[in-house]
Symmetry: C2
Amino acid sequence: MTAASAEGRSDEARRGAGGGAGAGRRALVVGAGLAGCLLAVYLARDGWKVALRERRGDPRQAGAGGGRSINLAISARGLQALRRAGLEEAVLAEGVRMPGRMIHPVSGGTFFTPYSADPTRAINSVSRGGLNRLLLDAAEREPLVEVRFDRRAIDCDLARGRVEFESPGGTREHEEADLVVATDGAYSAIRGAMQRSERFDYSQEYLGHGYKELHVPPVAAGSGPHAPWAMDPAALHIWPRGGSMMIALPNRDGSFTCTLFWPWEGPASFAEVATAPQAREHFRRVYPDAVPLMPTLEEDFERNPVGALVTVRCRPWTRGGRVALLGDAAHAIVPFYGQGANASFEDCEALLDALRAHPEVPAALAAYESARKENADAIAALALRNFIEMRDLAGRRSHRLRKWIEHLLARLMPDSFEPLYDRVSFGTRPYAEALATARRHDRGFLVAGWVGAAALAVLLLVGAAWILREAVGGAAPTTPEEPTTTEPAP
Amino acid sequence: MTAASAEGRSDEARRGAGGGAGAGRRALVVGAGLAGCLLAVYLARDGWKVALRERRGDPRQAGAGGGRSINLAISARGLQALRRAGLEEAVLAEGVRMPGRMIHPVSGGTFFTPYSADPTRAINSVSRGGLNRLLLDAAEREPLVEVRFDRRAIDCDLARGRVEFESPGGTREHEEADLVVATDGAYSAIRGAMQRSERFDYSQEYLGHGYKELHVPPVAAGSGPHAPWAMDPAALHIWPRGGSMMIALPNRDGSFTCTLFWPWEGPASFAEVATAPQAREHFRRVYPDAVPLMPTLEEDFERNPVGALVTVRCRPWTRGGRVALLGDAAHAIVPFYGQGANASFEDCEALLDALRAHPEVPAALAAYESARKENADAIAALALRNFIEMRDLAGRRSHRLRKWIEHLLARLMPDSFEPLYDRVSFGTRPYAEALATARRHDRGFLVAGWVGAAALAVLLLVGAAWILREAVGGAAPTTPEEPTTTEPAP
């Protein structure tokens, strides 16, 4: 049915093409971000006639809206999903491998902590804009995908699968489909319509920290060991500062995209450090080694906005038997595990699998939700937890000791011990399983810590007793030996 | 400044009138439900020029929309707030005193549990519609209050304190004020506008149970010990059935307003028991003593809708320095502690106090929120907790034992022990304090339970040993006595 080019496709993707599960049915994908584009490719190759709609203009023409994008860290889950669309190699070619973290203490110097005991494992720094353009190109190459920009979803009739769109000129139009997937992000309009329907559980919870993008440009060739990069590009750089932090992810052009995570209010917050001179002074004290690498620090700090970080949870993800939420629209998470895009790509796989397994859309959507909901909750919890680790612990000895023990255990018993980071970033078993294992390991480390402390205490006591005995024994004999000195009266 | 009649006013209310904290300023109160009306009275008597707006028609003309209203249980907090507006006596005159619960086990018979060790303490069954009409009359008597109906708030410019209203004909108008208070309920449109602003924490969480209103009509004079009531009117009647329950609250006309609380899905749910014949059969088995009292059971069951029960939490409650949420708009709770209206009336008091203490509205709103937020969270938690108690425990011996012990302790040491129910319903100390104390008492009862169980176990062991010893002693003499029977061989 489709005459799609087979260029760069995996076997599975080819198998789906030309008369798959979707044959003849219409899908409306609302939002041409990362997940929307990948899903459109998946569905089209399964025979769905896909209308992909985006509220913004075409990012390939207008230039992506900069200044608010944290670089992505694409890892095993994302790569697996991209592979199904034959896009893994193309994405990896645009990324920079990061096999570990480079920690920058305030006192100067740096140290490297690998992400895994297996040195071949790395996450991949990819620019969000670049990946979005690549995925849009892939979606437009599909003959069954029709992409239209400047169409903002404003409402949805959930029972009919009918979405109302508004164009920048204010004209309104409706579109209907057998399957409507909302990939319109953390502030989803389709989810808004669900929220107005009965018995929709929903929460949005903002972090007390905001973020701001900064920039480290490339350096001249020969001006350092990593040129054109100003720092080692084979790492995610972290400046952990307790209540706040900065990170930097490498780009292929030799630059780094930096992100500040600071509290909105209070000490060392965006409220306190608000102007360019204040920022310069603050950086001089708190991020001294970064200052020489950031020639446009003051301009960037003044120009770039402070973004908010939100966790969104809701239930159900599907309504009316034909409308479903996917990606950030269903489960926006904070960025600290680098899993937002990876989780959304996994959603696409789960929805594709469910649509193949269940001929009726309502049953497929129910199966999709039940496969993904607990995993979305798990990665949301893991992402919040990793923020504490990154800003508070990454610079501490106890953290490095735990990492070292984890990697040792992973090397000694690779079949039975896999550290949390490996499970999340280098494995593809469900997030919920990784979270459950992490909680078990936490208890293990806690018990081991207490047992270790108790053993140390016993050892110290025994040692002290021995020293005391030696000391006392030298000065005055002990009781059992007394009779030999107290001789019977004659 | 105002020529308001002093009829039925307390001293404090009179003191506020004619040039108080609000003198010359304009307030817009969005929603003429219970809290909106009381607040309008408060503000007008303090000199505010109050615009009170309501999306529905005038309930005194149209007749209140029936079939979805659980009766209210007005208790100490609500009465105190009404007293400040001189309305306590009028409300009490419309209510029916309920000093305790009447439990109806499935096996037949009933038993009464008083709410307090102090028999003079009672909560008051009041119809929502009747109370709303009474409060509307009170608001309209204030010369500084202008009430308009059929004006539905659809949006709000938070920075300007400018609300957009729509009338049933579709015309739209804007109104602005120095102070805008959203009393537009659990599905507040003003809160919707806040939710679209940055960094607004919000959650709505539905109970797995819905509710449906039923009716017990008055009986003929002389037809029973409580005529015209079909049951004792001096109690809140409960049919606890584990996973579900029915309650009935008396009205002054001799009728009872009954409410079913059943799961939406599963056994004994609204999904399973859906038709009038199914309801009749279910009632015959599960609420047998109620069936003869409900001649219109089948009609009521078919006609009345199933309502949803939601807990709404959000933060902040105020935005832009002049807009605040109050009552259900800020903190919708489930009805199982009978505290929804009481808590909203307390909000009105807190806002009035804050506006008197702080001449600037933004400072007053901040003070109001900080006085109320943790208490709203506490009563939300207490209300959810009381649902479990009412449906699962009210019929159990362990629950009656605990109530008995609590009331005994309250009688023995009235100064140091006050049971939770008394703190919430008969006291006016903050809800958060009541919740903290309840958690302490829970731990106390748990420890006492274990200590009691251990003591019992020891007693049983000692007893068993004694019995064994006696038994063995009776059948065969113990060793020391043996020599007396085993005589030396001759």
